[in-house]
Symmetry: D2
Subunit: 304 residues, 4 copies
């Protein structure tokens, strides 16, 4: 498959969507990003790399970090994890409190904010140096030792993070947070602040696509079955209340972030990361989703 040519075709075809949507602007660090950027990178399990646009520019991965949290938690806890978080699509916005109250503090899945806050709490329990260890895992999985948190972003998020603080307090009320709330929120926002390029993300997600290879990064190990199950959760829960739409249009497991990034995998074929800051009303990258839809349409390859 000539992926480079396909990427170039896609790039032409998505131009009519340029300028549509609005980047996240609830914190200054996101608001000041040039919204009219676009990058995409594919890594195949054969070891090829295909890139286009600003694929080397780092951006705030935001909720894409939840996939890394889930991988580490699943490695540390195994299926015990599912006692504290579900694996069903939420059917509601990523930050809804309603469901959490009705379901007594057990978040629907690890990819809504409530779920990822519980994951942060679990990581704090297991890791001796949580911030360092988590960063170390990401550096390992993408093979880039310069990946880092953006502390300024994390601090801004906490300052504006009333809704996540409401969620964390509700979780604590239902005994589903063990650590101090501020400690958990600090770590959660730090995870969201990680900055990676499309190239970095695609390299990282190759580990999820290529489950014939051992998933071993430092102390973090997953079986092939566990990797596949993470992919399954990405498929059903990776795009908030647009998960069905993404599954319908694109047909790949993936995860989006409010920074405009999307990472997806075609199991045993390739991983792909795309980035463009302008978001649709559901909080997902307009050009990113369009590009991935064209990718699976033009290659006629999807998991379905």
């Amino acid at each position: 498959m000539n992926y480079q040519q396909i990427l170039e075709n896609i790039y032409q075809e998505i131009q009519p969507f340029a300028g549509i949507g609005k980047q996240a602007d609830y914190i200054p660090a996101l608001a000041k990003v040039d919204p009219d950027q676009f990058g995409i990178c594919i890594n195949t399990i054969q070891g090829e790399t295909f890139m286009l646009g600003q694929a080397d520019t780092r951006f705030s991965i935001q909720s894409i970090s939840k996939v890394f949290s889930l991988a580490v938690c699943l490695s540390l806890e195994g299926d015990e994890l599912w006692k504290r978080v579900g694996k069903e699509p939420s059917g509601t916005a990523f930050n809804s409190l309603v469901q959490l109250e009705v379901e007594k503090g057990i978040p629907r899945n690890p990819f809504i904010n409530a779920g990822a806050i519980v994951l942060a709490d679990i990581l704090l329990k297991h890791l001796s140096h949580p911030e360092e260890d988590f960063l170390h895992f990401i550096r390992n999985i993408c093979g880039n030792d310069t990946i880092n948190y953006n502390e300024e972003v994390a601090v801004s998020e906490r300052e504006k993070g009333y809704l996540n603080a409401a969620i964390a307090n509700l979780l604590k009320y239902h005994h589903n947070i063990e650590n101090d709330i501020e400690r958990v929120l600090h770590f959660y926002f730090l995870q969201c602040s990680v900055e990676m390029s499309c190239y970095d993300l695609s390299k990282a997600f190759l580990a999820f696509a290529n489950h014939k290879q051992p998933f071993t990064f430092g102390d973090i190990n997953l079986t092939a079955s566990q990797v596949k199950r993470i992919n399954a959760i990405m498929q059903t829960c990776g795009f908030y209340d647009e998960a069905g739409e993404f599954s319908y249009l694109v047909g790949l497991p993936g995860k989006s972030g409010v920074g405009g990034g999307i990472a997806a995998v075609y199991p045993l074929r390739y991983s792909v990361a795309v980035w463009s800051p302008r978001l649709n009303r559901k909080g997902n990258s307009v050009m990113g989703i369009k590009a991935l839809e064209l990718l699976t349409t033009q290659t006629q390859e999807s998991i379905f």
Copy 2:
């Protein structure tokens, strides 16, 4: 892959689950079925068939019929269809009215009851002889001219169908039913009453698995892309509020019915149908789900 041997292994391994759960008993015709039956059938796209247990025994396919409705509707309406029904997982039970009221009469997806009732209304608009035409499509897709409705089941369902009547009235109130309510409900319940064996269902679903082949059955045609998108919807919405769990454990697009049947596809490999009447609390076959979980685990094949 020696599927026959795998089916036999699976059959041994699921024996500890025999007797767990309870069959649907809200109508006499379902209540009187011997609950301790089990059948499974795989059809590969190479044309092989593997069967075990009561794979030739017909049962009430119930909600599995919603996949056939969706196929016919999508063929007739194309993407216009999505103006009247969504494609997001519901996150709630299959028969919930809450979401439907909040979302002003647009059902979340075609596989919850509300969605399928809208599909029935759409079919009534397009088909000149709806009952005959729908049955004809099923007979065509599975290659068995003896497939039929069970009128007694359909009548019993209507008599007890207060909740579905509530749903239909609410849809009508929101102008999402065009035909007479009783007409729509009659057709809806008739669809659910279709009786097929695991062999029949597996043959029918092969058309969804094998999207390299033209999907053409009489007047009903779908493009490969449309078939893949039906698979995508099965993946995210096929098991009510257990869709995430099924995706996690089994990793195949599929659809269950309250009669104890499940049909699933491994795109470009095989289709599989399994049947066992005892249900878990979510209304899905206990042994059916277990068998499929073992199938994808032992073959190490899933879409993820």
Copy 3:
């Protein structure tokens, strides 16, 4: 107290509100009413009557009939009644299905549609000639033998009554309707179709205001305590999701109807009925509520 002078003052003061709001138009019989009518009538427990405007013109009492249903049901069932219907404010619109589903078919109170449909079912159980007996009670309580149902209205309501049919089916599903659904709905809509004037309604509600007098109308008897409790339910539940607002502004127990009527009582002082077809967004008469607010403000008399 010179009520006649006060009524005349009120009439002047509400003129700025003339023309605001829109009458109910979901059925032809309501849509064709001249919306710019206004009538009001006070009856004191001393036997005085004060009237102004179209106080003798009959209109569709609609949901005000629910107070009569409650009175008859409470007479027939006593506190057994509360096993099938609650007495808490609903906090939602009068026709919401959400709460009913969550609370398993027990309507929040007798004055939302679901509650009144259950009352209709209860009346059908007890009364040998339900339609005649119910009408007979109303004729008795207001002392006017010419009061009647408007069959045309009842038929129109049923034809458009998808939401109430949804509610009735949901109640039946939860085993809180014993009779045939169509039978119950027919009787329910017939009750709503009763036509009375402000004078008639005010006379009828005098029986609730004057609980020192025996409440005995044919076979229907209530104790003083039961009458006071009906007033209490009017206070907390009489105006759908505007009950708090009405209580705050007016400070009297009352009940409104979508025909533009409101009946209210000042216990041991007077009853009042007001009518004007234009409704606010909550479905209550704009001029009616304003007139009652002015009445309790100018008389400086309210239950608080």
Copy 4:
């Protein structure tokens, strides 16, 4: 009316209810109260006082303090207040987040926790020394200069107050809290910690019953109309999701607290306060409600 004799009768009749229910035990200070205490005090507008049991023992007034907050806020803001808080019954538990999220941060009424937290924020805006000024108002209205906060209770409440912190964060997210969250919560919990006896409370509530007298306490003034409207809100919203039941059984405006106290008013007749720590499942005093029900039944006096 021989209220003293009636109180003695009531005391006998409620004995069968002794020992039913459980006191609040979510903080040590409440858990250690002897649950088997009972006190009641009536103050008439003629100046008589009737007491029985531990009517002089101080207890934590908890949510009864919300009535004082509302009085002060209404004095300071007038009807502007209703832009930030509603006046409809909530139909849900006192601490529900669901409604608050759905209604975008405008609490249903001032007597649910969310509403009272908004009131605390409003008081912080207006009062130069909020803690002192609020306490001063209470001391004035009950005529007892020794009334005080219980700082230990306030601190314990904050430590366990995850749900209220979740509510405050959600309010802040919706821009309905102006001050720092911790500042608001500290003041809110301090208000709840006020300790008063039945005698004190009854004296304080006499100001709401006796609206012929000027409501003037230091800088805090209310018109008769405003006082009556506070009574109206007590009637519809004073008992969480048991407001309808209390209205039905007792027929007086009132407010309960989780410390086991209830204060109620019979406008232009008397105020009454009752206290007994054992609560029913809705969080209201078992013996307290029973005593008030008997009071209005035996005196045959209620607002209805």
